[in-house]
Amino acid sequence: MVKIIYIEHDGTEHPVDVDVGTSIMEGAVSNSIPGIDADCGGGCACATCMVFIDDEWKDKMSSMSDEEESMLDFHEYKEDSSRLGCQIPITEEFDGLKVKMPPSQH
């Protein structure tokens, strides 16, 4: 278990414990964090689990596939710090990670 702090677009923080080996998306969905829809359940098929990750954490994560990049490219609120939560498996290193969410996933 690691502590992840999901932050809604309005600034509301949700600190929750998430299992190592699951994804940032799964951590949000299983804890009912508002702001992540995850329509396809983690298939990198829908781009409804976009999150913003600060640079200091981004380097610790697996790099982005072309597929993820293409899906993100069409998200209305895409920024440089965008990632798809379903594509990032949680490791021990992520304890204390802050994940910010867009105003909407659609």
Partner: protein, 405 residues
């Protein structure tokens, strides 16, 4: 005054979404879910993909952990069948004749696989794939088998064929139509998937109907119009039927699905329906349709929740789907309703291309193989009904985002 009460019949994506959306909207009434299966509501798409492969634990299929339901005071009743709805007195009756009253009722009963006639002697060798339990049984069977026949060349049959082939078994697909996926896609896509299945070593028999199944000492003889295929077991994937009998017998309008309007309201003012079991209007295609789709289940779940809250937000969506086979992800947008032309972007000889279906120079649907950008862009182009130049659409030197400029 006692609290308002919403009952949800069904334990799939639409049922779970309805309950979740009600909670997100701060619904303060009571919520009770009645699932016929013995598992918390779970995702079905991975059943014919990663879960069949054994790459995903079943707990990871659950939408929410048990504590979500307890913390949110959503009562989940597993293994519970609703036998009858008394629409006059607003009550449902469970199998043990227990009854429960409601203010709002949501029917999200999904579909069941279309069955074939099978003699009892071989029913232990014939499988369908719709539930966790089905997959656990099939996984057990795979371990002790060498050869499987899949009846039906639709998406379920093909996904299952790809996985079982990867697991090392010899797979034969038997399809009655002249090509696989005939009901749902174009010749171009059918040919592509026929090719990749054959390359992987799967036998694909089209124009072949199944005339009977017989037990033999090795397993099952599948008697077809093109000869007999002997295999250890058989998986049947020949489509699904909407679970609308409960609704129909209770006096709610249903015909090939429970009939709802754009607010997911049935013919009864206090009863709503969402997901695969609904026959609903789609404004983009201007007709009533039934969809077997995660996206539809989610969006109709949200629509029902909004309707219960009195918000009246109409369902207004372009359908989309996806299918994973081998190293390809197919993303489908829109309905292959009617089109007058096909535009291909990329080369179908490679495992990365997009097929756009157009009518009067507007995209009405698309099939994208390992082309997520094209898929996302086509959803935008379909929904905004943008006029396109077909030469630009097929020209790969123009980025997909700029083809409509």
């Amino acid at each position: 005054m006692s609290k308002e009460k919403t009952l949800i019949i069904g334990g799939g994506q639409a049922a779970c979404q309805t309950a979740t959306s009600l909670k997100n909207k701060k619904y303060d009434g009571e919520i009770k879910i009645f699932c016929s299966e013995n598992y918390l509501p779970y995702q079905r798409p991975p059943l014919s993909k990663k879960f069949l492969m054994g790459e995903l634990d079943k707990e990871r299929l659950f939408f929410k952990p048990e504590k979500f339901y307890t913390e949110n005071q959503i009562a989940i009743n597993l293994n519970s069948y609703v036998q009858r709805i008394d629409i006059e007195n607003k009550e449902i009756f469970l199998k043990d004749n227990k009854k429960e009253n409601y203010d709002n009722l949501v029917i999200a009963t999904g579909t069941i696989p279309r069955q074939i006639d099978v003699d009892k002697k071989i029913s232990d060798k014939v499988f369908y794939l719709r539930s966790i339990e089905d997959v656990l049984q099939i996984r057990g069977k795979i371990k002790e088998s060498n050869k499987v026949t899949i009846i039906g060349g639709g998406y379920i049959g093909l996904e299952v064929a790809a996985i079982i082939n990867k697991l090392g078994l010899q797979v034969t697909i038997v399809e009655m139509a002249s090509r696989i996926l005939e009901r749902v896609t174009s010749e171009t896509i059918s040919s592509f998937y026929t090719k990749i299945h054959k390359q992987a070593g799967v036998e694909v028999l089209t124009n072949t109907s199944v005339e009977g199944l017989e037990k033999n000492n090795k397993g099952v003889e599948v008697i077809t119009s093109n000869g007999v295929i002997v295999s250890d077991f058989v998986i049947v994937g020949i489509g699904v039927l909407p679970c609308d009998t409960l609704a129909l017998e209770s006096g709610i309008d249903a015909k090939n699905g429970i009939i709802v309007d754009e607010f997911c309201r049935t013919s009864n003012d206090y009863i709503f329906s969402a997901g695969d079991c609904t026959m609903h209007p789609n404004i983009f295609y201007n007709k009533n349709i039934r969809l077997e789709s995660v996206h539809n289940a989610i969006e109709q779940g949200k629509t029902v929740a909004a309707s219960i809250m009195g918000e009246n937000i109409s369902y207004n969506q372009i359908p989309w789907f996806w299918s994973d086979q081998y190293e390809t992800k197919l993303q489908i947008a829109g309905l292959l309703d009617n089109y007058d032309d096909i535009v291909v972007r990329g080369d179908t000889k490679n495992q990365s291309f997009a097929v756009f279906y157009t009518k009067e120079n507007r995209i009405t649907a698309s099939d994208c193989v390992n082309r997520p950008a094209e898929h996302m862009m086509s959803r935008k182009l379909i929904s905004e009904k943008i006029l396109i130049d077909k030469d630009r659409l097929s020209d790969e030197t123009i980025p997909i985002k700029e083809v409509a400029n």
